[in-house]
Subunit: 506 residues, 4 copies
């Protein structure tokens, strides 16, 4: 793959840091799952506008109650190897895809490069991800690189029906619609995999369900599979468990933990989405507000920086002394939650931990205090503890509940304690572009790796490719990299084309 990247040097496989599996969850401060994000990106956009246009309305207006499984549809070329809501929405989906293309420059650059050479020629990729305009750009890029693709949704709500229609019209075998049942979900996955005369040799997964299904139903398929690319925390965790148990039978690439993706998904994205999520739900003024942020990992760092810049007074809680010291040096008072809980206007959790904000703290908050979760699933705030008879819940807006104490005190709970930025804000296409490009390169690397480079284990994306993903996104900013001279490269002991940093660089 490195030759194809345009780099003259060879990739030293020893530089591929192989993360040892560890019992402890190592990255507990980061946003662990993307389940529902893209779909919500779309749905929020719709709900935040009153006349989004026809594409959206097609999606919403379900004039047709027939299950897609019971319908027989064909695209304009007569191909019927797909199962989606309504092929007639294809035009509207195409426009969405075209808009997304504009903000995914790296994938478009890969397509251009692929005009000469097809690094995925012969690849048969089975995929299971959110099906959105951004995914469509990825799929069409993989196709341009030479791959055949069959695709299912990794989430029963997140499919953009019009995008699925555009993909089907374009010849992709897509099996997905918004509002699948549990049974539909597995049926769709099975339809991707189980096809007479076709067998996948690459897996692109988001959450591990596809991988799980093949392990369970078609274990022999792994004989021909060259590798798995997995994006989500959950899926990666499952892979490490398989590896630890000695049951991983192909190499897997953990794209979740690549530096570029991490910084974008956590630090840079949350720096913006914390403000967006709070504004869209509560219209709160940030200036002068007292805020406590629980956890000073990448997500917490992003939230704190944004709120400080907007004039909030921010307190931080931490368990790790190193992050705690960073918070101090960055100008935040490090406190225990109990010290400030009575005075703060906003409580934000970013810990990856559970039961960080428990009922005892909720009882002590002041009237009007806003509580939300930027960290992880929905256990950081002990929402269950608020489901007691003496408290009244009042839904005041979508994603906003007032929980009312007997004395009239109201707590403003956002997204019922689920992830604020997934529920109440959107993820910019540019961030998704980083992830999609990383996935594409991981597929290329695993598909083209010489025998023996990767064993039956979980790997991080080689540093050099992580750097390549970054470099493909620089033109967006009209950013100009400096190149090492021969003399400088020699002095530094570096290849002129990278990698420039050790794998553990953050």
């Amino acid at each position: 793959v490195e030759r194809w990247m345009g780099a003259s040097g060879t990739l030293d496989v020893r530089q591929t840091l192989q993360i040892q599996f560890a019992d402890q969850k190592q990255e507990f401060n980061k946003r662990p799952t993307k389940i529902g994000r893209r779909s919500l990106s779309r749905s929020i956009s719709q709900s935040s506008t009153d006349s989004y246009g026809s594409a959206a309305s097609y999606t919403d207006s379900s004039d047709d109650e027939t299950s897609p499984r019971d319908k027989q549809q064909k695209n304009s070329k007569g191909n019927g190897d797909f199962c989606i809501k309504n092929i007639k929405q294809a035009d509207f989906g195409r426009r969405e895809i075209e808009i997304a293309e504009q903000e995914m420059p790296a994938l478009m650059a890969l397509r251009k490069r692929a005009q000469g050479e097809k690094p995925l020629a012969g690849a048969k990729v089975v995929g299971c991800t959110h099906i959105t305009a951004q995914t469509a750009v990825l799929m069409e890029t993989l196709s341009a690189l030479g791959a055949q693709c069959r695709w299912a949704a990794c989430n029963i709500y997140s499919t953009q029906n019009e995008v699925a229609a555009a993909l089907a019209e374009g010849g992709f075998s897509v099996f997905a619609w918004k509002g699948e049942s549990e049974d539909d979900f597995w049926w769709c996955i099975d339809r991707c995999v189980n096809l007479e005369g076709w067998q996948p040799n690459m897996i692109l997964d988001d959450g591990g369900d596809l991988t799980h299904w093949i392990y369970k139903k078609y274990p022999n398929m792994f004989k021909k599979i060259k590798g798995i690319v997995e994006e989500s925390v959950t899926g990666v965790h499952r892979l490490y468990q398989l590896s630890k148990a000695g049951k991983l039978c192909v190499p897997a690439m953990n794209v979740n933990d690549s530096v570029t993706k991490q910084k974008f998904d956590n630090l840079y994205c949350c720096r913006e989405s914390i403000l967006d999520g709070l504004k869209r739900t509560t219209d709160v003024m940030f200036g002068g507000k007292q805020v406590v942020v629980c956890g000073y990992g990448e997500v917490g760092k992003g939230c704190c920086a944004a709120l400080k810049a907007m004039g909030s007074i921010v307190y931080v809680t931490e368990i790790d002394p190193i992050c705690a010291l960073q918070a101090c040096m960055d100008g935040f008072r490090l406190v225990k939650l109990s010290e400030v809980i009575r005075q703060v206007d906003i409580v934000i959790t970013c810990t990856g931990n559970k039961n960080v904000v428990v009922r005892e703290y909720l009882d002590r908050m002041k009237n009007g205090c806003i509580v939300c979760n930027m960290g992880h699933s929905n256990t950081e705030i002990d929402v269950a503890s608020l489901r007691t008879p003496e408290l009244t819940w009042e839904r005041v807006r979508s994603q906003v509940d007032h929980v009312i104490w007997p004395d009239g005190k109201r707590i403003v709970l956002l997204a019922e304690g689920r992830l604020l930025n997934l529920s109440c804000s959107t993820v910019p296409t540019f961030v998704l572009s980083i992830t999609a490009t990383t996935q594409a390169l991981a597929l290329i690397e695993l598909y083209n790796a010489p025998e023996g480079r990767y064993k039956q284990d979980v790997y991080l994306l080689p540093k050099k490719m992580d750097e390549y993903v970054a470099s493909l996104h620089l033109p967006t900013f009209d950013a100009h990299l400096t190149e090492l001279s021969d003399e400088q490269a020699k002095y530094l002991g570096l290849n002129k084309n990278g990698p420039f940093k050790p794998n553990y660089y953050r």
Copy 2:
């Protein structure tokens, strides 16, 4: 009024800076009009949620097409001296008012103080403003201070019908509904003023239409009127013109130009609403974006600070060398628009001027460039120049148009060039609280001023009262003022209770 404010000193009338009328518009960098703001605050809130609750749906669902003027309604006490959409919405309006009360601490503090003394006893206030939950809190405060109120809407779209219902139920003579015709508009104003056996002695106006109506129809009324309180730039401009022409026959208080209001409406509010408005409409990522902000007055300063903090690279254009030098010292490159127009991702106007972004510049922008106006009416961007046959307009979301050039280039135009923060974001209640409190104090001052303190001219709110407004908002932040010792006050030559700064302090 100063005694009532709890200050021991007397207010030296010489300290009331009397702004000489000037031909030139002096404050051309600030956001000039609030027309539509409050209503939009509400309506956006509704549109940004999908299940706001029943109050909103009442407003929207117009099951009843009868004009309010043709309906005979009475409140539960049998009073029918009002004209609104539907008195049955009163309960829902009451909840909205109660929520607003929580963020308007200063008015609530005035009410508490009014338990002992009624500084507006005998006042008959006729008002013409947006009719929203925040206005309702103001009106009910005026009532608690002793005033009788009759009220009309200053904008045909901005009335929250359920709030009007709650006010009518509470005994206020309100004449307003959402979607008035031009004829309805003046009819409502007339109904406020023209009542057998009742004559106003105070005017609270927002835009000058009420004042204009009385001048035109009932000039004799001014004999009993003690003063006018005007909030808007437009209304204040009209008053200065009247004054200049020697036709102003009562004192008028310009609350638009008080320091507190200015800083909040412009610097602090725009610092937040520029981010909010851009995110809600475009989901754009701010990090790394190149942005040009036209104008470095208070609004421009707010926009620049926010975008810089979010990682954008910001360029500034200015005509005034002093503001230009401030931009330099604050770390922004000062350019002419033509120097950067080809490279920027976002163009924001904050000048108060017209034709700042003309077709020539729009032609040179790059594909995907976002263009919006934070400044003033809808002439800063020459939108009219885009209405030519070769350009295609595509409405992609509410408030978002793609304007498409023949070569496929798209410009993203927000709110059709109207004010972004009024159209696409909300104004926090806390900001409106500053304004409403200033209005209440201006009424008290004019109503209680001894003979001769104010002549037939336009006045700024006395500094001391501006300081009082600020002090009433400090408890929200748990902020503790320091008091001067006698010795210190003497040393500084200040009264211990203020005013602490000259009137021109900004």
Copy 3:
């Protein structure tokens, strides 16, 4: 002067805001006096280096103990109408002046413009200011503009001897040296004024001593004097007192209160000098430190912004609710000093008030707390209260004292409570350039003003000239101003060449 400025419009004298004299000190938050600044700028530079070069050493090494008054010196052209330390230092002074010229672009631009026209032709300026390289650039500019100059020092310590020598060598009648006695001081002033056959027609003063001397000794001189330009707070105060008493017999220009100068001297300069002053004296690390800043005027705003940016946690105290609300919105907790005095690491006063930090607070500070004054004279911190027997003073560095309590607690007192930025940091030449240019323009304006434009009163620099000063400094930043189109100027009611803002704009 406006024609000469290159502006086509006429200067409307009504736009010259005439500040009414007020008993109270109006600007109590700003740094009131520049006494000693320039000299210290120089002397610190010397002390902060160990081998500054020969110029400095000439100044310091006083091989010659003879009083300059007893020496007979002539410059290379045989002119002896001056009294300085040592004419032989002229070369070294010339280099200092040349270096300063590089950072005073506005004065150099005035010189260039003066090649065609001499707006000060016939002016006989008597000046009394600090005599430094920057002043020399001003004097040589006035000379290029057509003026004759005679000059004395306004401070007995601040003269740079080598600069005085270069001026004398260049033909200026300078009477000043470092280390004058009180008697020398007045003798020098008298020598400037009292010369057979020469009478000044303009006064440039810094502190009011020169003006005072002429009032007292040569009152008749005022008959020919066209005006006074005064820079310092103290001098301006004296002028307002004269005016109030009806004794001011010529127009005076208060350049201290021009916007440009204010912002530079206070906000922008202090934002940098607070960090510089603290580092040079204590090497303290800012990150994580808790700091309380007393006063949130321009100086306080600058200090707070800088320390927040460096990672300190900053608390603010204020007496004025408006500034207090600004502090809140800018993200600082507003407290009373007593609330945080036990916990803070650094205490900074910026109030312009006296006895802000009294013994009671000093007693409660924690061990190692740093205390300094950025505000005003040396009374903000009650240093006198620390001169008691039970406390031990230990001088640990220049400008740094440890005050030691009986229990061993040490307070780190900087500059014995005098102004930190004057004592322990330097003022960039660029800031002095703003001031010097303002002085030059004020002289031109008063000298050329038509009969009747200015009466016997104290005036602010016309807004237009303030804008002109700013515009002359923009090229330093390669900053490009936008010009109004005719249509825009008409729309705004502005002259295309300014003024662009009302006089009270800050």
Copy 4:
């Protein structure tokens, strides 16, 4: 050691990340060496003040020209096993040490803990570091922990003579003075090691000279040596080379690369020292200045953040696309040096590379451009290329040269291209405290590690101990860590006492 740290859990040795040696220099963006830093910290402090006090003057005034090697001195207890400048300076040195103790809370906490237990009982530590007040606090802590110490200086200029005196008076065998010759240098080291009846079992080195000496002269000593603790980049590099060559015969601990030290030495420290270094040398105003920072590693990030906060316009150059993308997202334009070299006011190198600013660029800089190096040795700026006949060098202040082109253009070169922050600013004691504590813990760990935990290789400090160092510094900020509940620790799979992050966490 973990038990002694107060943690109940056991330290899993597998968590000690063993960095494989790599040919390339991996951390090329960080400040590589501390040679001279501490000494300069002191000497700058002295030169920046004009009356530092007697301690300093003792150091400087060398009334006694006799070489210490020729003097026979004894401390007050009759002990003469040391060789220093002048034992009589001990009192002054003691005061310096006491002041340093106040800002080294972690070492003082270790001493307190050592009252019960002596983890270094029996340790015989031979050390070679800068000999400053901060080192003295470290040495006295090691002694309190049970160790015997013999010490030499790692730099011929950096010794604070009065501190060495205080240590000798306190019974330490110190061999060091300011201004040693090369021969003195090795003589001192030898005196530490080569003592009848005493043999070291631990080495604390800074630069590797001590280690080198023992390897060369007393290789048999390694039989009894339990380990080496090395702080500097250079020393660590030498150790990796030894290891690679199979010649490392004891375990070595690389304390240079611990997270805490890295963040403090690079990001947080440089964020402050870039401002300090520029101000002390040039008094430049930062506001509005255009600056290019070469390299966006930790040092570059710190420099950029500080200058942006002070109102500079900052451009960045990078070779690594990941760091480049970070620069973009943080709001800096990424350029090639050639694009901006003509327009910038300040050029700062932070690359770790050589010949970054070459003559070609220096030729194109504008008049007055300031050039300095924050990165690495003195090769980042090609200073040698400026030593040509047509260029004139003028020393204008200590550490400041004007290099003058034939056309009169001047470049302001700081510290002759050596490290600005080592030459022209100071390092706060708090930063040195982090390093010293890390050294102490590394000694404890190696000395107490059970057989087999460490092999003959180079190790990073175990994460847990890095966290412990951080935790010991939190009380300085009155910072309160949150503790995991049992349930939470289980959920996260973490030990309640840490380590909380993987070793590669940054």
